[in-house]
């Protein structure tokens, strides 16, 4: 199963830093993530679409289409709105 890594306040909301979630696409994995962690509903996804400013990377690549296929060994990282400099 793909690994999902969570950051910032998502860790508190989900109670974990990392979790394995099944799914054939990034979208499917995120939907399942939210299903298993209802506290992330409205934070990561809203109406099955990414919330504004949420960044999702696939194996460290940040300009992705969330309909992309994922493999067993893939790592999806999810960041809530963050900023700095």
């Amino acid at each position: 199963m793909p690994t999902v890594k969570l950051y910032a306040n998502l860790r508190k909301l989900a109670g974990t830093k990392e979790v394995s979630i099944p799914g054939a696409t990034v979208r499917a994995v995120l939907n399942e993530l939210v299903k298993q962690n209802p506290s992330l509903q409205g934070v990561v996804l809203e109406n099955e679409e990414l919330r504004p400013h949420v960044v999702v990377t696939l194996n460290g690549h940040n300009k992705i289409d969330i309909n992309m296929q994922v493999q067993e060994q893939d790592v999806i990282a999810v960041f809530p709105p963050i900023a700095g400099g």
Binding site: K5, Y7, A8, N9, R11, K17, P52, H53, V55, T57, N59, G60, H61, N62, K63, A77, F79, P80, P81, I82, A83, G84, G85
Partner: protein, 596 residues
């Protein structure tokens, strides 16, 4: 005129005299304040014949028409000088309270010239200017000195140098309000070279606002906008700027061990999440700031402000150190000694690589958290190995025969973002007028965070237009002067309306961006006059030729040349990076071209 106090305070330390005179309001209209106004004044006062640490260099402190008005984050001010680190034009900008107090003292600008025969400190109480003997204060560290001179956040504010400035370290900062810094480029060394230990300000005047009712409504609107943005209402207050550590590491753009790698295995241990969970005492905020991104952190050795992302990275990933308490303590120590954390950390990292490769005889090694504090002490006092490090990584690496190991642009150490994983950031560093810096525009928004929209971070073609826009907007915001974080919740177009309501001069969106472009071109002209050329618009060879061998940025180097050519064209400069006369005419800078 509303917004500006229309008054310049001009101090000559050699004679310990001062004069006041009216601000040139046409100059103020064109350059607004802060960084822009400072650069324009420096152009007239300090030419290529002046050594940065000589009495002929000047320190120009400027606030802006928004400073002290109560507009959100209108606490900031700038110092402009010729940089002793880079030899370029330098402005450094800081928040806290001092800038607001300086505005309330009734001045837009304070010029400090000459050199005092003995150490002095200056006290400003509106029209009353007093020179005090600082012989007994010389040698004091920043925290003790700030307390001794009576820092009181809303009433009396202290700006000073620590031992690093006294010892003319080219990475010395000027500190204000105890732990805020005019950090980069060595302005503290210029202050030290003048035997000036501190400037204390008390002010009683209220800035005049042209249209108070409209301004009041804009305060309300801005408050709503900042509260509605998840970036300014949640992300920055909750985790501070250090929250960027994990995402930069995740995408393979976190410079590590003097830019030898682009990912750090200890990143999570020094992240914003770790800081908030284990060391955060509370948040803090600058004057008139509803965002409150400042961290107050505590370790067994005490409490201090920060650390910010760049400081955490400089002593962390860049030095291969995953010990967060040691990093927090190094940051606090830098504030007390008056050292720039980015240059200090990156210079130590450079020394670590030089030592590990046998080019330099020292025991400095990556990962050695125990070496941070003693090395910083030695740097501030120019003792032992510190005397080699305290003038920055380029001078250090050059001394030991390997200048290519200095991770700097134009002699200023770059911050955390490894541009091999962010092509636009590479162009930004190479063309920054004060050297390797992320505060002259920052591509982390569009290239990493998708702000306002995600663009391909590896794309080269077309990238220069984003860089130019970010540089111009950044120069405009630095001239107002407000905090760039405000721009995460409020569009820059809105700032033009705020400026109009405060000053009564109609600035539209285009005009404010033109102010930024004007400032950028003026700074470019200054550097050209100093002898900088196209060949200085470059990066360390490591970033141009050595691709990471693993991680998401594997195989990438910075494709600088094509971006640079496109950038010059986009700026209206010739193929050598010299602004064309037509561009300077357009920006009301034509008279300056004749003089380079």
């Amino acid at each position: 005129m509303a917004g500006w106090s229309e008054k310049v305070l001009d101090i000559d330390l050699s004679t310990q005299t001062y004069q006041t005179y009216p601000l040139d309001m046409e100059m103020a209209r064109l350059f607004v304040g802060g960084r822009g106004l400072g650069a324009r004044l420096l152009w007239d006062m300090v030419g290529p014949e002046v050594d940065a640490l000589s009495p002929e260099n000047v320190l120009i402190f400027t606030n802006g028409p928004l400073t002290g008005t109560g507009y959100q984050t209108s606490n900031r001010f700038s110092v402009t000088t010729k940089s002793p680190l880079t030899g370029t034009v330098l402005d450094a900008n800081s928040g806290g309270f001092w800038g607001m107090q300086f505005k309330k003292a009734g001045y837009d600008v304070m010029i400090v010239r000459g050199k005092a025969e003995k150490p002095v400190w200056i006290e400003i109480k509106n029209a009353e200017i007093t020179f005090h003997d600082a012989s007994e204060l010389w040698g004091m560290r920043v925290f003790a000195l700030t307390a001794k001179l009576g820092q009181n956040n809303n009433k009396r504010n202290v700006l000073c140098i620590g031992p690093a400035g006294e010892n003319l370290s080219r990475m010395a900062s000027i500190m204000n309000d105890r732990e805020r810094a005019l950090a980069r480029g060595g302005p503290g060394a210029v202050m030290g070279s003048k035997n000036l230990k501190a400037i204390v300000v008390e002010g009683k005047e209220r800035p005049v606002i042209n249209d108070p009712e409209r301004f009041k409504f804009m305060l309300y609107e801005t408050r709503k906008l900042l509260a509605a943005s998840p970036l300014t209402s949640q992300a920055l207050p909750e985790f501070g700027t250090v929250v960027l550590m994990n995402i930069m590491n995740n995408i393979g753009a976190l410079a590590t061990c003097n830019h030898q790698q682009t990912q750090f295995e200890g990143a999570d241990a020094i992240s914003g999440e770790e800081l908030s969970e284990k060391y955060l005492v509370k948040n803090s905020a600058c004057w008139a700031c509803p965002i409150g991104c400042t961290r107050i952190s505590k370790t067994e050795k005490g409490e201090g402000e920060g650390p910010e992302f760049e400081s955490t990275w400089a002593f962390g990933a860049q030095c291969g150190i995953a010990d967060l308490p040691a990093i927090i303590e190094a940051n606090t120590l830098c504030n007390d000694l008056g050292l720039d954390t980015i240059t200090a950390g990156s210079t130590i990292a450079c020394a670590m690589e030089l030592s590990e490769k046998g080019y330099m005889d020292s025991d400095l090694r990556f990962g050695r958290a125990d070496q941070l504090a003693p090395t910083l002490e030695a740097m501030a006092y120019r003792e032992d190995i510190g005397s080699d490090l305290t003038d920055g990584s380029l001078r250090l690496a050059t001394k030991y025969g390997h200048p290519e190991l200095s991770m700097s642009a134009k002699g200023m150490e770059m911050p955390a973002y490894d541009p091999r994983g962010m092509q636009g950031q590479g162009l930004l560093y190479a063309t920054s007028n004060r050297g390797g810096c992320h505060m002259r525009g920052n591509m982390v928004g569009p290239e990493v965070l998708g702000l306002p929209k995600m663009i391909d971070r590896f794309q080269v073609q077309g990238k220069s237009s984003f860089v130019i826009l970010h540089q111009n907007v950044s120069a405009a915001i630095d001239s107002l002067v407000i905090c760039k974080f405000t721009n995460m919740g409020v569009a820059d177009e809105y700032f033009a309306r705020v400026l109009s309501s405060v000053t009564g001069i109609q600035y539209d969106t285009g005009e404010l961006t033109r102010v930024g472009e004007r400032v950028w071109n003026l700074e470019r002209l200054y550097n050209l006059r100093e002898g900088f050329t196209r060949k200085d618009d470059t990066l360390p060879s490591r970033l141009l030729t050595e691709a990471p061998t693993e991680g998401p940025s594997k195989g990438w180097v910075v494709q600088l040349e094509p971006m640079l050519k496109e950038y010059y064209r986009g700026r209206g400069w010739d193929e050598n990076g010299i602004p064309r006369p037509q561009k300077l005419e357009e920006l009301n800078l034509a008279d300056l071209l004749v003089r380079i």
